[in-house]
């Protein structure tokens, strides 16, 4: 059965998406291949299961896809940028960015195993409070959202809502492989392959789960990013 190759109409899909699908020889078997008899221990990249295209996508999955549209991002102009004359803005940018950098308040938003490493980072062994980072329960008073764990498609609308509730300027740190691109669970269809599909992301922290030092390194990288982007951020 021929794998449909024509790009979707409406031009929105850039060409790069077309050949992103691996060259796949159409397998005729109705069922996906069962015995991975190749080299033991290594799962070969399975051919794209053509069988799926024959099944109509169930209504539930379509309803869910509609809920997973990404968040629209607005960067409002800062008040001091409109009031202060140009020459005064540079020092003002520097001071305000330094203040924001040294008092990042993340939201207590642990999802899965990475949450345990996040809690370990707040505790006395690797103390995040030294950087002025205090976890805060309510999204209204937070600057950073640490997505620590797998974002499933059932949880994605809640993540979007929390992101929209946070006041600007806000940043997102997807912690761990699951939040970056689905991690070990990426092949399951109920898991969102990376939180950057629904909200814009600033600093990715790799690891499964990343060590507390890796999360601290992520925070320091975010601090440097805040200092670099001090004139663009509102």
């Amino acid at each position: 059965m021929e794998v449909n190759e024509e790009p979707t109409n409406g031009g929105a899909a850039p060409e790069s998406a077309a050949e992103a699908t691996p060259a796949s020889e159409p397998t005729t078997a109705e069922r996906p291949p069962r015995d991975a008899s190749a080299v033991p221990g290594r799962v070969p990249a399975p051919a794209v299961e053509v069988a799926a295209t024959s099944r109509p996508m169930s209504l539930g999955v379509q309803l869910e896809m509609a809920r997973l549209t990404p968040v629209e991002v607005d960067h409002p102009k800062a008040l001091y940028k409109t009031l202060l004359p140009g020459v005064m803005q540079v020092p003002a940018d520097y001071i305000i960015a330094a203040a924001r950098k040294s008092s990042l308040w993340p939201m207590t938003f642990g999802l899965a195993c990475c949450a345990i490493e996040m809690i370990a980072t707040y505790m006395s062994h690797h103390d995040l409070d030294r950087f002025g980072i205090v976890p805060w329960p309510s999204p209204r008073q937070c600057d950073v959202m640490i997505v620590a764990g797998t974002v499933t498609k059932k949880m994605a609308p809640a993540v979007k809502l929390l992101y929209q509730q946070m006041p600007n300027p806000k940043w997102v740190i997807p912690m761990g492989a699951c939040a970056t691109n689905g991690g070990p669970y990426t092949r399951y269809d109920r898991v969102l392959q990376g939180v950057d599909k629904i909200i814009p992301v600033d600093v990715y922290v790799p690891g499964c789960p990343p060590r507390p030092e890796a999360l601290m390194d992520g925070f320091i990288a975010l601090q440097n990013k805040i200092m670099e982007e001090r004139n663009q951020v509102g």
């Binding site: 794209v48 539930g60 309803l63 869910e64 990404p70 629209e72 814009p200």
Partner: protein, 203 residues
């Protein structure tokens, strides 16, 4: 005192012919349920009793109420998809009074699997049955609220653990694209696993 049938079980793969001795629980079941056709076998740890789906409720009710069996703890209830051989609902039971175990396997057709609920016998079954319905589409008649528990509430026709549902394809890396073209996040390339009609993407 561990049930005796566990230690007389020789290593299984050595002798296919000398089938391990079936535990005493099977005989208790046969005496308690003369009318029902059940075939017993000896699994790695417990006795396996295979019955047909229709008289599952009757077997399990006697298992719980009969004082010789007295299985008052439903350990685990899981569905298994044997593709052509149909579906199967497996009940693992344990009795606190006698301390013995049993595995009851109820066979179901794979097209329209229906079985009587056991949530009236054990309240533990309530959530396990809802999960079996989510994953395999087995309908448990008489269940108080058969609402999806692990899947979103409105996903009633997608059963992920069935053998014919494939794994999701690897969507392309979204990181760099996000910068200039937000509309494309979450885009599923054509020809990949999901037959996504453009309208569904909400262009």
């Amino acid at each position: 005192m561990s049930p005796d049938e566990k230690d007389d079980k020789p290593a299984e793969e050595t002798a296919e012919d000398a089938a391990p001795a079936i535990g005493p629980v099977a005989d208790l079941f046969k005496t308690a349920l003369p009318g029902v056709s059940l075939e017993a076998a000896q699994g790695a740890l417990d006795v396996l009793i295979t019955i047909d789906g229709k008289d599952a409720h009757q077997v399990l009710e006697t298992a719980k109420n009969d004082e010789a069996l007295a299985f008052d703890f439903l350990r685990n209830l899981s569905g298994v998809d044997y593709e052509d051989a149909g579906l199967e609902v497996v009940y693992h039971l344990y009795s606190y009074t006698h301390g013995h175990n049993v595995t009851v396997k109820a066979k179901l057709p794979s097209q329209d699997p229906r079985i009587q609920t056991v949530s009236d016998l054990w309240r533990a079954a309530d959530w396990h049955e809802r999960e079996a319905r989510d994953m395999f589409g087995i309908v448990f008649e008489g269940h108080p609220n058969l609402v999806p528990i692990l899947l979103p509430e409105d996903m009633l026709d997608h059963f992920p653990l069935r053998k014919d549902v494939p794994l999701a394809p690897l969507e392309e890396w979204q990181g760099e694209q996000l910068g200039e073209n937000m509309a494309n996040a979450g885009h599923i390339p054509p020809g990949s696993g999901f037959d996504v009609t453009p309208s569904a993407e909400g262009e």
